[in-house]
């Protein structure tokens, strides 16, 4: 019999961005809220100067990330392969500990476009029959731009978003993104400083007729005090952002933007090293009664709660639903069930450009430093003629100048004197032209429970089935050609390319992106979505699942802004409706 803790009104699984936001919103509503975090506690003091500035520890050895022992995923590329567990993190780096990935993210805070939220509707209008792959399962999010806009605006104020406004209430603004959806308010703060590569990229992009603008950033350009009274210091361009905590308190994170305010509230509490293994359901399976977790001593504890918020990483949210029997697991053959359906990801690619005579000073940069253009997002160009749907943000970013990760030409040796010589020759002489692309959802890209591998508590691991598809190969080839045109303008002395083209498969060993999305997607049709448009489980009404898991497919922008906005959107509905009258917020019919 598990130890039992006193009941709370709401238990939050995971104390990263979504858990912190839900904590604020639900304590505001007067609920007694408890957050359970499986990792360590982490405060600003743990990130104080100069601790994070250690590439070996944080950049290479992943101190702030999940350990495979805690949460390995087994991976295969198609339904016929046997999945094997990760033994080392590679392609993606989910966070661990208070703050989650929100403590070590890069800090690009950008909205999707209105079209991205209604991609299925767009596809039906713009693509003739037979153009797109027939195993594609793209869907609308079920929530509109206008509904989310106030929540983007608020979350961006929480983060001190820095950038240049492109569309203010329908009026196009000079210097911003003319393709962005209409904003009700300008960016809270001006854009970050430019660097050499961003200026060169901007010039070349404009010459080719594109519309570059500064990467929208959650590394703040000025001192900022947010609506919670939380504060961020102006970014000092130290170059330790992605994979690092911010030593200057300049990157929006749960720590800098929310947690001190939340911890001040007497109706909030949190426990660390509390690893939730499953949500417990009432006998009829229609409501959750709380969660079971394993505490630091390895003891099982039952935490009763009237509401359960799954605010863990997208992958783990799906795993918890599967391990708890919430909703019907997805079956890719019968095409039934929804939990695990529409797992998606992000496709990258780029051209490394080396200039012997240009000093880029890559060590002086913020994580989000860069310029991008959005001319190739869905609806802004005719991709049907190239046989793919989706888009990419095209950018030259300079996220870091750390030495170990310095890109070198492909023919440079990877060790020994030759490596050192190449590092000396090329360090600081490199810039990258990048595409960050959308990834559609497909019948066989999915998540389920692994039939073989279990974690130390005997719970099945999550199995990921994922590979690049023809649509993403075509998209990559198209974007490569556009980036080549920019490189031709810039005339580097030497260049390398890296794209996921036809015949290439998903590689788990080297970093791709931590934009793992989908698997428990939102929508208005319970036969194709695991949670409704308020992020509420269709099947267990007192379980809400905010996170990237809600995306029915991925768009070209970074996910955090939408994740934050969706969480506030869900919280609003909970506060205004669910708490007064607990039950399904949408009917299944």
């Amino acid at each position: 019999m598990a130890k039992q803790q006193p009941r709370v009104d709401a238990v939050i699984v995971g104390l990263g961005w979504t858990g912190s936001i839900m904590g604020m919103e639900l304590t505001d509503a007067g609920l007694n809220v408890l957050a359970l975090e499986r990792g360590e506690d982490r405060t600003n003091e743990d990130l104080a100067y100069p601790k994070p500035a250690d590439e070996l520890q944080y950049g290479i050895r992943h101190t702030m990330m999940q350990k495979p022992k805690q949460a390995a995923v087994t991976i295969r590329r198609d339904l016929d392969e046997r999945a094997l567990p990760q033994r080392k993190l590679g392609a993606f780096l989910p966070g661990n500990g208070v703050g989650g990935a929100g403590a070590h993210w890069t800090g690009v805070l950008i909205r999707p476009t209105p079209t991205d939220l209604q991609l299925k509707t767009f596809a039906d209008q713009a693509f003739g029959k037979g153009v797109l792959q027939d195993d594609m399962q793209i869907q609308d999010f079920g929530v509109s731009w206008d509904e989310l806009e106030p929540h983007f605006t608020f979350f961006e104020k929480v983060c001190g978003q820095s950038g240049t406004t492109g569309n203010l209430n329908g009026q196009i603004q000079e210097g911003g993104d003319p393709f962005e959806g209409p904003r009700s308010e300008p960016y809270p703060l001006p854009a970050l400083q430019d660097t050499q590569n961003t200026e060169m990229f901007e010039k070349a992009a404009k010459q080719l007729g594109y519309h570059p603008f500064p990467n929208p950033s959650a590394n703040v350009s000025r001192a900022w005090t947010n609506p919670y009274g939380m504060q961020l210091g102006p970014c000092n361009y130290c170059g330790f952002c992605s994979r690092y905590g911010c030593l200057n308190y300049s990157k929006a994170s749960p720590q800098t933007c929310i947690l001190n305010a939340l911890k001040q509230r007497s109706n909030f509490d949190y426990r660390t090293n509390a690893n939730v293994t499953r949500v417990e359901l009432a006998a009829d399976g229609k409501t959750a009664t709380g969660v079971t977790y394993v505490d630091n001593d390895g003891e099982e504890v039952f935490q009763p709660a009237d509401m359960v918020i799954l605010a863990s990483y997208a992958l783990n949210n799906v795993r918890l639903m599967l391990n708890s029997g919430i909703g019907q697991p997805y079956d890719p053959v019968a095409r039934t069930g929804t939990v695990g359906r529409n797992y998606s990801y992000q496709v990258g690619g780029g051209i490394h450009c080396y200039f012997d005579d240009i000093e880029f000073n890559p060590f002086a940069t913020a994580g989000a430093t860069g310029k991008m253009f959005n001319d190739f997002s869905p609806g802004n160009f005719d991709s049907a003629q190239y046989g793919f749907i989706g888009g990419a943000k095209m950018h030259s970013s300079q996220a870091s100048g750390t030495p170990i990760k310095t890109p070198l030409p492909k023919d440079a040796p990877s060790w020994g004197q030759g490596y050192k010589d190449a590092l000396q020759k090329h360090y600081g002489h490199h810039m990258k032209l990048s595409m960050t692309g959308s990834v559609m959802s497909y019948r066989s890209n999915m998540l389920d429970l692994d039939p073989t591998w279990k974690d130390p508590y005997g719970m099945p691991l999550l199995r990921m089935t994922f590979d690049w598809k023809r649509n993403e190969h075509r998209l990559s080839a198209f974007m490569r050609d556009r980036l080549r045109e920019i490189a031709d303008v810039l005339q580097p002395d030497y260049r390398d390319e890296s794209f996921n083209l036809e015949g290439s498969h998903f590689k788990v060993t080297s970093y791709v992106s931590t934009h793992n999305v989908g698997g428990a997607v939102m929508g208005t049709d319970p036969s194709t979505s695991a949670i409704n448009r308020y992020l509420q489980s269709w099947d267990v009404h007192n379980v809400f699942v905010p996170g990237g898991n809600a995306f029915p497919q991925n768009f070209q922008s970074n996910p955090t802004d939408l994740i934050g906005a969706l969480t506030y959107w869900s919280a609003k509905k909970i506060r205004e409706e669910y708490l007064q009258n607990p039950g399904p917020l949408m009917s299944r019919a």
């Binding site: 003091e45 033994r87 080392k88 005090t225």
Partner: protein, 449 residues
Amino acid sequence: MTARHLIPLLAGSAFALAAPAFGATDDTLERGAYLARAGDCVACHTAPGGEAFAGGLPIESPFGIIYSTNITPDDEHGIGGYTEEEFAAALRDGERADGANLYPAMPYPSYANLTDDDVHALYVYFMQGVEPVAEQPPETDLGFPFNQRWGISAWNWLFADQPTFTPSASNPELTERGRYLVQGLGHCGSCHTPRGFAEQETALDDSDSDYLAGANLGEWWAPSLRGGSGGDGRGVEGWDTQAIVDYLKTGRNAHATVGGEMTSVIAHSTSHLTDKDLTGIAQYLKSLPANPAAEDAPSAQDRQRATNETEAHLTAAKNLSDGERLYLDNCAACHFNAGQGAERVFPPLNGNALANADNPSGLIHTILAGAKPPATPTIPAQLPMPGFAWRLSDDEVASLATFVRGAWGNDGDAVKAEQVADVRDELGDAPLNKAVDREGELNQTDGED
């Protein structure tokens, strides 16, 4: 437990208002609770990690350690047996119910100005709004002659003479409210007024220019609070009313972030006061003319010119002294080359009172141990300055502090390594900000362990 100087630093001790058991109206009780905040009673009368108001905090005085008493309404260990009259005598006259004198670590010379109404409200609060705690704090046991409490009577006769407050009709009402709070419950003079030969505050009210003129509080310089014009333009003199309100409410404003003992005062007392009372306090402080600057003090123009020079020199980063290099490597990221910091987030060092104080110990302390602003109700953010004790030697801290005290328009004297060593010794085992544990975290791998 570590003994602290006069005003103890009480990190993170929350105390909740218990529901009234009987009697008084909620209004009186609430007002009493508010006044107890204004008096910051909890700071001294609570031991680290102990129950609120149960006493036991060791307070370092020049005469030895004084332990604060239990002021919960417990009959045996606290003040449960006090009549309102006895309570008033303790507050205003420093007289215990048994007739013995309290040590003047208790700021009764300030509390003497309390009105009868406010004493009543405080009495109601302590009797009905505070949970009794049956704990006996350690007895104060000073050596001879200071263990002779009767001797304090003479001290009281000489130095404690403040009458009950009567507002002056010639000042705005709100300013007078500020004066009442500053001179009385706020007992600001305890730290900010210089002390005389018998450790008495040399002035208890604004009839004397010594009042709130700044004082050495152990290693810290408690700066002048005389905010009117007439001085060197630095410190509170250069703050407007709103800046003072912001500082007291949130521990930070455009000019400074709180450090040292004042951190606790803001956390437990001033951040809980109403904007109106804080405005009154600010208006009153601005009504006190600043004391004249030293004749050799640099003018505002001199300071601006020096600021430009330092900024240009740091930006060029050529021919740097050790102190300049250390500043660029360790400090400039937040405090910037012009020493201006970032508004309300990182305090400016240019013109900073602590950096310019005659006694550099507060600055040295901050460099070694770091600092963290309090989480206040309106600004809960806590962006800690890291300590550098683990990273910089005494010589390096001395070079750095010397640079900071002479950079921009600052005009503090140079700092010697021995002074740094003294502060380092005093910090002892205080939880300095340690380097990452290289034995631990660095050896972890994310492989097959």
